[in-house]
Symmetry: C2
Subunit: 305 residues, 2 copies
């Protein structure tokens, strides 16, 4: 195989009680990438549409991720990468992760799969490090593996795939304001109250139990975050209003990634459509442009087109 | 029914990564309690064997728990409670919880089950409050429900029953020294590093996933605690040595409750027997008396005898 086209999905990370450890993969929002072998022994970003991002491979998350992988393979094969961005940079739904994960997935396919999907995660994390100064895995893991991913530990890196109850739908509202992941991390307190930490791990444990038992109500009751959300939500316009709006039809609500996108987790298409509509009606009266998405959880991750 | 005899099991709470939220129920260690209706409209502790504990109902955890329950029922029925303690007070394997939970379970049976097991938890917690100044649920919940219990939240109280993989065995070593739960709580730092909190919730999430998927190795890798264990283990003689000794045959090792007991989680009888033997050989060369137990996880909780 000389070339491959893939769909690289958006992801919701930092899922409330699962700050830094839990993410899930979306199905209706994502980039397209076309990757082909070249004879130049170099990795080139040949084209980017939809966003203004660096074409220089060492400054592009896809370039950096693929180079990390080729270095690990000790391989001099070159690749040309075309990226058609649909996910806006800085949206908080894993734009950089989609490019990093999509690129290493595609190159792995073209090379005959020397790595498992799980083994690709560390390479994709190199792209995340370039993008945010933090090689986090909770976007690239669900992008590669699909469904819900739990980052059990970083040293050593261990990612666990969790089940995705079928009726889950995610509504994402992206207010078109810029919050840099770096800044969003900087405002976090570096210590937390033990009591709050205990609450958080009780909720995360319950959320994971709910994924296995398909207990949608429990998933909703567990989507709480008293540690990060109170700090970061300040940066998101009308966060509280959206939270309240979502309460009637969604299971839970929170910040996607480090914002500014927010997500509502819903059961079934009907509830998701109502939340979508209410968000739309509310936000269009505000002075802020926004994108709105609705998606099932994508159980598969990156797809070959 | 006028009288009932129950087995009230020991429990391991604060299970490593599950500080304050996760406990499991033992099967081979526990008290026996005989409870019968009386005509006096008062709750009496008529006999205690095996331990020197208060016979006055208001100073006895079983008395307090039953009184809380009767008050909630607005019922003037009296009960006589006999407690035959096999679990030593202050051992860290839920001695007070066994008495509180056993008493409310038995009284509930005698009254024709006005409450579900889950609904009995808050009453039993009143006994825990008397014993330690903290109405925690991670001993009484698994004593009542069996298996592994997750305390999702305290306000409102919500406890989730988790599956128990069949081959799990628990080896408990109880060095006969006294650590009061109050003191053991007092030495805890009230703030934790965000990074460590994230590690802890990654491990707890993974442990819960491992219970559902019966992934014994994952359970072992997840039984870690960098927050509470480093502080409390100082109070436990030869903690590090036991930890190292257990590593060959156990899945994981940690402090039971607030100590001084420690537990090793093992897969299968053979590994448990080896850990038991190694603990015994090691500790009998020390100047500290000790009890040693080995038990499957008790999926049922309190049993009618």
């Amino acid at each position: 195989m000389e070339s491959i086209k893939v769909f690289a999905p958006a992801t919701v990370a930092n899922l409330s009680c699962g700050f830094d450890v839990l993410g899930c993969c979306l199905d209706t929002v994502g980039d397209e990438m076309l990757i082909q072998k070249n004879d130049l022994k170099t990795v080139r970003i040949t084209k980017i549409t939809g966003q203004d991002l660096p074409l220089e491979a060492d400054k592009n998350v896809a370039g950096v991720a693929v180079k990390a992988m080729l270095e690990h393979l000790n391989l001099e094969q070159g690749f040309d990468i075309e990226i058609h961005k649909k996910i806006k940079a800085g949206s908080g739904i894993g734009s950089s992760a989609a490019s990093s994960a999509g690129a290493v997935f595609a190159v792995n396919e073209l090379l005959g799969k020397p790595y498992s999907k799980n083994e690709l995660i560390p390479f994709a994390m190199q792209g995340e490090f370039l993008a945010s100064g933090n090689a986090h895995a909770d976007n690239v893991a669900p992008a590669l593996l699909g469904g819900f991913s739990l980052v059990k530990s970083y040293e050593p890196l261990e990612v666990i795939s969790l089940p995705s109850p079928e009726a889950l739908r995610v509504v994402v509202l992206h207010p078109l304001i810029e919050i840099k992941t770096k800044d969003s991390r900087a405002i976090l307190k570096q210590t937390v109250n033990l009591k709050q930490a205990v609450q958080q791990w009780g909720n995360l444990g319950a959320f994971i139990s709910g994924l296995y038992t398909e207990d949608y109500e429990l998933l909703g009751r567990s989507l709480k975050d008293d540690i990060v959300e109170p700090v970061r939500s300040i940066l998101i316009p009308f966060f509280e209003e959206l939270d309240k709006l979502s309460a009637k039809h969604a299971l839970g609500f929170g910040i996607s990634g480090s914002g500014p996108s927010v997500f509502a987790l819903c059961k079934g298409d009907e509830n998701a459509a109502k939340v979508y509509e209410e968000f739309q009606e509310f936000y269009k009266t505000k002075e802020i442009e926004f994108d709105l998405h609705v998606s099932p959880v994508n159980p598969e991750g990156i797809k070959i087109l």
